[in-house]
Every structure is written in structure tokens, then in C-alpha cells.
Symmetry: C2
């Protein structure tokens, strides 16, 4: 049974729109994802998909891959436009439950971890999660002051990588202390040449890597706590790199001994 | 003499807004840039700054650094909001002339060049220009089908790097042929493991590097024309990297012998 919805004023449409905002996430403990790439990934990864919302065209294409008994809605192109964060919506969405944030204990965490210190831009955050996945990292720690992981721009930039690696929230100072107590190095990232040239580091199979705020960089407190701070030598006249690009360069240098 | 403008309906305000669109660029051969970082960079680089538009606060801060005789306007916060592409505008803008695209001849071009094949996302394009600058590249070639370099999101992401390195437009097939005829290698970027692992390449001081469209990658024609195609091994479950991140990883691997 597929319920057909044709009015943009329908109460369900309004709720789905609400699920693209932080207030909606807090109220319903659910969020909206968009596009078959992510909806399909969520199904494959056995995520808590509560509802699937699609145009007739998208239903034709993908309905045979939906989980059994998932509540399904057929919507018009006009409604798809209302729900979409993009100019040319694909026409397929899903509502997912927000699970209680996975607790990861830094005293037992293994592998490589990316730690985000007050990163603000949703595109940067999402891209960094996607890159951490591609680089073979075990997970990403959203430090206090890093934006939400459920807003549409973050979700789109993650491209489903949130279903592949661990995402957790935590106090970065505690993470650094706990990792270093276990002799696992934590690398900071810095713009000054007093830090160590990243290309000279010998990569290991377990470490932490911290990237900091777009304007201000890492907090000074964290900077003094790290094992080593790395910098990427700039050859031209640019003052700095975009933080997601810097993260990519560092992760793909440090990942040589990851599985 | 500073002209004060207080109405958002003023004809000048409407023209400035027009200078953030492709139509406006075509009509006036001018574009609008935003923020002191870029305005100041444009002045330092002796770019054709035609007008500077700022709130009283920004005039206090920066007016002593303006070029002599530049036409200057004081605007309200409300007008700044209208002109801005950001949620919290800084309150300073400049109108720059669009110069005839610098013609760079691939038969004599030296150094390293980034070639963009139908890149669509403005943030990606701008970030790649900024990264090319930071990596010590000589310039960036916007191939046919790559978005404009004058839209606000591209300009913001470039962070002034368009004033540091050469930006040109060109036919990429002609660029590849001309470079290869001079025994300068041109690297493509590919997602398949038949291509060569990028980390095994011995960098040179002159080369071309092509990055392709976000969804489709490089054109097949270009792919067969390149000297070598490179891939970045993916260790996790992500299908691919964001194109600007991939470009950053490749540029900072290949730039070791650049000045």
C-alpha cells in the first residue's frame, strides 16, 4: 500500500521539511536524507529507515530494492522540490531515526581517528567524513562546537560514508589524553613552519589526527596537548588551504599502514 | 568624496546585484567581489578595482589602504545584506573589470598546470584554484563546459588566488596535444585500478594534471590522450573522493619539484 500525496500543504510534507532542520531533529529524533545514492546506502547498511518518499518515476526505478514493510509515499515533483536541498531534485527521500550517538571509548578505540575541532562549514564536515572513509579511517569524532551531522548539506557531502565508519561525539582533550596514555600518537595541524613538515612523518596503523576551525585553526590548548603538529608547506601565495583539502592531503599521507 | 547610499532600491545597488550574475558579467564586463581578504588582495595585486562599496565600519578600518581616486560608496548594513552571498556579511565589496581572458599558449607554457574538464560545482572550482596556488602551480585552464570564474561562490572559494596564478580558458584536447608534443607529461585522473597508483609517480617540474566532472569524471577522449592516468587507492567503502579533495592530494604529491 503506497499512500499518494499531492498537496504541498499536507501535514506529512510539513513534517518532512521540519526534519531538515536542527529543531526538527530535536523534536522527532529523525532526519531526512535525499537521493538514491544515500537512500540505497542506508538500506544496504541496515540503517533504521522509517519511511521512503519518492516520485512515481523513482518508485518504478527502485521500489523492488526497498526493505519489506517500510512505509512508502508517492509524491509529486512539486513536493520533491519543496523537500529538496538541491536545484534539480532526484525525487527520492527517506526518513531515518537518529540513534543515540554511538559511544566510542578512546581508552579502547583502535585504528585511525579524525578529530574535528569546531569545524563550521557543513560541506567541509561532510567531505571530511567521506574522505576519512575513503582513507581507511576507523571513525570521526565530532568535538564540541562542530556543527550537526544531520543537516542536509552535511548529509549530502558525506555521500553515505556515515553508514560505513563510526561517527561519535566527544571531548577532544579527553580523546587526546586517552590516546597518548596508550602511546598512540595524535597529530595536530598547524599553519606555521615551526610545526613538522607532514611529508616527513612515518605513518603508523593507529593514530589521531586533529583538524581545526576554518578561520582560527585548532584551539591553543589542543595544540599544546598533541604529540606532534604537522604543517603542509605552501609554495605559492595562497595563505592557507581549505580545511577539507588539507584533511585529505594529511589523511592520504598518514594512511599508508592502514588496512 | 564618498557617496552615501541608504536605499536598497537605489539604481547602483541594483547594478551591483546584477554583477553577481552571469548576465550582469556579460552586460557590464564587471563582477562583484566580497570581503576584505579578497578586496585587499585585489588592490595589492593591482587589479582593475573600479569601485569600493563599504559600510561606515569597514571604511574606518580599511579606507587608508584604498587606491587613490577609486570611486567609493558608503552603504548601510541592509544594503550589504542585499549584495552579500553570505549569512553574516562583512560589509565590504569591490567592483572589478573583467579583463579579456589572458591567452596562454600551451606551446610555450611553463611550470605545472591544472586542467579542469567540465567541473560544475562553484565551491569545487574555487577551491581547486586556491589549492593550485598553494601547491605552486603556474595556472589553471578552465576547459569548455567548466563553470564561470566570476560567480560569487567561485570567487569566495578562490580566496584571492585568481590574482596570484594564471587563469585561462582553453580547449583541453589542444592543451594535451601541445604539452605532449613538447614531451611534457599530462596526467589524467581515473577511478579504476587499471590506472597507475598516484603515489608511485616521480614528480617533475613541468606537467599537466586533468580533473574531470563530479559525476562522470574525465571525458573518454581526454582519457585516451593523456600520458598516464592516475588513481588514488580507496581503502574504505566510499565510492570516490570529492573532486577538490582528489585534486589536492594529487597536486601535493606531484608538486615536490616545483619552486
Amino acid at each position: 500500500m503506497i499512500e499518494e500525496i499531492t498537496s504541498t500543504q499536507n501535514a506529512k510534507v510539513k513534517k518532512w521539511q521540519h526534519l531538515t532542520t536542527k529543531k526538527g531533529h530535536q523534536k522527532y529524533h529523525q532526519y531526512l536524507v535525499e537521493g538514491w545514492h544515500i537512500v540505497g546506502d542506508a538500506i544496504t547498511a541496515e540503517q533504521p529507515v522509517v519511511q521512503i518518499i519518492a516520485t512515481a518515476e523513482q518508485l518504478n526505478l527502485h521500489q523492488h530494492q526497498f526493505p519489506e514493510n517500510v512505509e512508502t509515499f508517492e509524491i509529486t515533483d512539486e513536493i520533491a522540490k519543496k523537500l529538496s536541498d538541491t536545484v534539480t531534485p532526484q525525487g527520492i527521500f527517506a526518513v531515518l531515526d537518529i540513534l543515540a550517538a554511538e559511544h566510542v571509548d578512546p581508552e579502547t578505540a583502535t585504528g585511525a581517528w579524525l578529530l574535528l575541532d569546531r569545524i563550521q562549514d557543513p560541506g567541509n564536515i561532510g567531505t571530511m567524513v567521506r574522505t576519512a572513509d575513503a582513507a581507511g579511517f576507523r571513525g570521526v569524532v565530532f568535538g564540541n562546537g562542530t556543527s550537526s551531522q544531520y543537516t542536509p548539506k552535511v548529509v549530502r557531502a558525506m555521500q553515505g560514508s556515515q553508514f560505513h565508519i563510526q561517527i561519535t561525539h566527544g571531548n577532544l582533550e579527553e580523546w587526546v589524553s586517552a590516546l597518548e596514555a596508550r602511546k598512540i600518537p595524535v597529530y595536530g595541524s598547524a599553519l606555521n613552519a615551526e610545526a613538522k613538515d607532514y611529508s616527513t612523518v612515518t605513518p603508523q596503523s593507529e593514530f589521531g589526527l586533529i583538524l581545526g576551525n576554518e578561520g582560527q585553526g585548532m584551539s591553543e590548548k589542543l595544540m599544546t596537548q598533541t604529540t606532534t603538529n604537522l604543517y603542509i608547506p605552501i609554495k605559492g601565495q595562497a595563505e592557507s588551504l581549505n580545511v577539507a583539502v588539507a584533511a585529505g592531503i594529511l589523511m592520504f599521507k598518514l594512511n599508508q599502514n592502514l588496512a
